[in-house]
C-alpha cells in the first residue's frame, strides 16, 4: 500500500464521518420538527452544505485510493523496457559455456 492510498483512505474516512454526522443531524432535525409539530420541507443550510462537502471530500479520497492509471500505448510501454528485456530469445541462450569449468575449480 503506497502512501497515496493511505492518504486517500484517511480522506475517505473524514468524508464518511461528515456524511454520518449529516445524516444524524437530519434525523435529529426531523425529530425536532415532529416534536414541535411544525411542517417544514427544507432542511437547514448547514446540513446541506455538510452533505455536499462530504461528497466532494469523498470523491477526492476515492480518486487517491484508486491508484494510478496505466498508459495504454505499446509505444510508451516499450520506452520503459531495456534492450535486454525486449531482445531476449531462447535460441541465443548458451548452456555449454565456461561457467561449468570455472565453478569446478
Amino acid at each position: 500500500m503506497s502512501s497515496t492510498t493511505t492518504v486517500g483512505r484517511i480522506i475517505c474516512f473524514i468524508g464518511f464521518i461528515f456524511l454520518a454526522h449529516a445524516s444524524y443531524s437530519t434525523y435529529e432535525h426531523l425529530s425536532y420538527l415532529k416534536a414541535v409539530e411544525r411542517v417544514e420541507r427544507e432542511l437547514p443550510l448547514d446540513i446541506k452544505l455538510e452533505t455536499l462537502s462530504s461528497v466532494a471530500i469523498f470523491s477526492l479520497g476515492v480518486a487517491l485510493v484508486a491508484g494510478s492509471l496505466k498508459e495504454i500505448y505499446v509505444k510508451s510501454e516499450m520506452a520503459k523496457k531495456t534492450i535486454d528485456l525486449v531482445d531476449t530469445r531462447p535460441s541465443f541462450i548458451i548452456f555449454n559455456h565456461r561457467g561449468r569449468v570455472v565453478k569446478k575449480q
Binding site: 445524516s23 432542511l43 455536499l52 476515492v62 496505466k70 495504454i72
Partner: protein, 107 residues
C-alpha cells in the same frame, strides 16, 4: 510484422484502467446515493443530482487520474466521461432509497 491496431495497445492496461474507473464510479455512486437520501431528494431532483455528481466525478478523474490527457489512457474520447455511469445507477438508487427510508420515512 503486421501493423494492426490491436497491437498498438496493451490490453492488460486497458482492463486495469477500466477497473480503476469502475471502482471510482461505483464508490461515488454509493456516496452520492447516501447523500441524496440524507438530503431527502425525490423524483427528478435525485436523478439530476446523480448527473451532477457523475459529472463532478468525471472531472476529478480527468484532472487527477489522467492529468488532463485522457487520450493516453483510454481508447475512446468519451470513455472518461461516460464509462460506467449507467452501470452504477442501480447502486445509486439502492443507497438513495436506503438512506431516504432510514432518515426521512421511518423517523
Amino acid at each position: 510484422m503486421s501493423t494492426s491496431t490491436a497491437e498498438l495497445y496493451v490490453p492488460d492496461h486497458i482492463v486495469h484502467n477500466t477497473k480503476t474507473i469502475t471502482f471510482i464510479r461505483s464508490s461515488m455512486s454509493v456516496i452520492a446515493g447516501s447523500a441524496a437520501g440524507i438530503l431527502g431528494l425525490t423524483g427528478y431532483t435525485g436523478f439530476i443530482f446523480y448527473g451532477v455528481v457523475s459529472l463532478f466525478t468525471s472531472f476529478i478523474i480527468w484532472a487527477m487520474k489522467t492529468k488532463g490527457q485522457p487520450g493516453k489512457y483510454f481508447k475512446g474520447k468519451t470513455d472518461v466521461w461516460i464509462d460506467g455511469v449507467f452501470g452504477s445507477l442501480f447502486s445509486y438508487v439502492l443507497f438513495w432509497t436506503l438512506l431516504y427510508g432510514t432518515v426521512h420515512v421511518y423517523d
